[in-house]
């Protein structure tokens, strides 16, 4: 018998020896498997996300933001800030695709599945039959398969390739063709196993939809602050429509923001949040409104309390670091910034309800840092509090509480709902 056949026979004999081998399995393994199946079953229920739910939540978030803009920008009374807004908690809805808390074991399992996916992605062929074959026919098949593969360079010189007979060649090619077909089937059957893992893993990256509200506080909120109206009115010419602030005292309203966003968890510790928010800044001051007609005549000259409303649309970006995570409470730190654009700068003369609009140029840049805590009230509901310190950079924006007191303490309080 040739040397090659000796080698194949050894393989087959070893295969036969090992084929019937059994090992006693420790009893705790089934307990762990059973627990793992329970965990997987509960995880699957939570990870079932329906696109219509996500879409519904997103639509609700956008509708809430739009409704807030419409409500808050309508003609209003002389009140500085609606009393109901001050210190109110605004419902926050966060609907992550997946459970936000992952135990270490679950993290390890997911990491294992990720690696499984990566390696299985390399699998182009999966043998259809793993039933061990023995006997002379198997030796011939192995020999034919070995010969069908391309010759190796000198590293395998000790294994010499024999010339195959035409009949053996035909058998080898037939078997190779049959194997390719079965491999295709096996691959298609097996790939869903690992592609499901990939899809699950993609979903399990945890994307959250957040609808939130935030209010800010500043020590100089209702103090008079020296300042000059940063508006074209500053350079108001004698024959130009505009507003001049008469004195330095302003009464500032509590800044209020509402918004929607997405929070993506990249690792169990780190996540990134991006959103879109709307902010209302208000203040009341005493000033003079001057209206000049096209012909140059002064039509109106009123000195009165004037209420300024500035409406900002912004994009906040925050990085979150999960410090402590447990079944009942999460503590995290976060930092980031925002870019905001003033889309509407309105001045209303209180005595006669004259409304004057000023264009605002540039954008407002800010940075923030803070710590947050979320308390789980149930499987799908959490209450969170995110205090933060915010700094608003000098960006030549209209005068507001931000320009007067750029360092502000912010509070975000609300509920997170998980699907």
């Amino acid at each position: 018998m040739s040397e090659k056949n000796n080698i194949f026979e050894n393989d087959l004999l070893m295969r036969a020896i090992l084929e019937g081998g059994q090992e006693e399995v420790p009893g705790h393994i089934w307990d762990a498997v059973s627990a793992g199946l329970d965990k997987a079953a509960s995880g699957q229920k939570k990870t079932v996300t329906l696109w219509w739910r996500r879409a519904g939540v997103s639509v609700a978030a956008v509708a809430a933001a739009v409704a807030s803009v419409l409500v808050l920008s309508r003609p209003e009374s002389a009140d500085i800030v609606p009393a109901a807004v001050q210190g109110d908690m605004i419902a926050v809805v966060e609907q992550p695709a997946q459970e936000n808390i992952m135990t270490e074991e679950a993290v390890e399992m997911e990491a294992g599945r990720q690696l499984q996916k990566k390696a299985a992605g390399l699998m182009a062929y999966v043998p259809e039959a793993s039933v061990m074959q023995t006997g002379p026919a198997a030796i011939e098949e192995l020999s034919a398969r070995e010969d069908a593969q391309t010759a190796a360079p000198e590293e395998t010189a000790e294994i010499r390739k024999e010339e195959m007979s035409p009949a053996a060649q035909e058998r080898a090619s037939e078997k190779a063709a049959a194997k390719r077909v079965s491999d295709e089937v096996s691959t298609k059957e097996y790939f869903p196993v690992v592609w499901d893992d990939e899809d699950d893993q993609r979903n399990k990256v945890r994307t959250s939809v957040v609808v939130s509200g935030i209010t800010g506080a500043s020590s100089s909120q209702n103090k008079g602050a020296s300042g000059i109206l940063k508006a074209p009115a500053l350079t108001l010419a004698p024959a130009e429509t505009g507003i001049i602030e008469k004195n330095s005292t302003s009464r500032y309203g509590l800044p209020v923001s509402v918004g929607a966003g997405v929070k993506i968890d990249f690792t169990p510790k780190w996540s990134l949040g991006v959103g879109l928010n709307y902010t209302l800044l208000t203040r009341t001051f005493n000033g003079t409104y001057t209206h000049v007609s096209e012909a140059g005549a002064i039509n109106n000259l009123v000195t009165s309390d004037i209420r300024n409303s500035q409406h900002y649309i912004g994009i906040p970006v925050n990085a979150y670091y999960n410090i402590v995570s447990s079944k009942h409470v999460n503590f995290y730190a976060y930092a980031g910034g925002a870019v905001e654009k003033c889309v509407y700068d309105k001045y209303r003369v209180i005595t006669n309800s004259i409304v004057h609009k000023e264009p605002a140029k540039g954008v407002q840049l800010s940075a923030n840092i803070g710590f947050g805590a979320e308390f789980m009230l149930g499987e799908h509901l959490g209450l969170y509090l995110d205090p933060s310190l915010r700094y608003y950079f000098d960006c030549d924006q209209p005068k507001s509480i931000r320009t007067e007191q750029p360092l502000m303490l912010g509070f975000e309080l609300g509920f997170r709902f998980r699907l």
Partner: protein, 180 residues
């Protein structure tokens, strides 16, 4: 010889019948555990592989469409789970430990006939991880060199080289055992 499994048992397992899953586990585990041991070379690590493999098997049982043997389908899962564990531990490096074994002639098949299951398992477990993996996949599981190369991210040449070295190493160990 591979066992045959009642489709009704598999169906019950898919439905989440824990008793059926236990029954399937009791039949498969003693056969899959040696596979795990052969691949990772360590019993305690093999227990982890076995546990993880069964969780994967039961959660993915729906994807088994009845084509090919069920045991063969199950073996693929455990092989992949074992490979992932080895990869995670960076244990699939193709080492040069068998340089000294080059040039040895292949022994006759009678050498292998004189070895029992436990001895052979011990010998395979002592192979370096890279060689052991290729040997298990080619000689025992029946993967081709192309399949092995694709799955392990190596070339077919490397797969052949590792296999031949593993064989030589095993033959030498078996011969030494005979000489003792």
């Amino acid at each position: 010889m591979a066992e045959t499994f009642d489709p009704k048992l598999i169906e019950s397992c898919i439905k989440g019948d824990r008793a059926a899953q236990k029954a399937l586990y009791d039949r498969l585990a003693p056969r899959m555990f040696p596979l795990c041991i052969r691949y990772v070379g360590d019993r305690s690590l093999a227990e982890d592989i076995l546990q993880e493999g069964f969780i994967t098997l039961f959660t993915r049982l729906e994807s088994y469409k009845g084509e090919g043997s069920f045991e063969g389908w199950a073996r693929r899962i455990f092989v992949t789970t074992a490979l992932m564990s080895l990869r995670k531990k960076d244990a699939l490096k193709m080492s040069e430990d068998l340089e000294a074994a080059r040039g040895l002639k292949t022994e006759t098949s009678s050498q292998v006939q004189n070895i029992g299951y436990k001895e052979l398992m011990e010998l395979i477990m002592t192979l370096p991880p890279g060689f052991r993996t290729v040997f298990n996949m080619y000689a025992i599981e029946g993967y081709s060199h192309k399949e092995i190369a694709d799955m392990l991210g190596i070339t077919e040449t490397t797969s052949r080289t590792q296999l031949s070295r593993a064989r030589i190493w095993l033959q030498e160990k078996i011969k030494k055992r005979e000489d003792v």
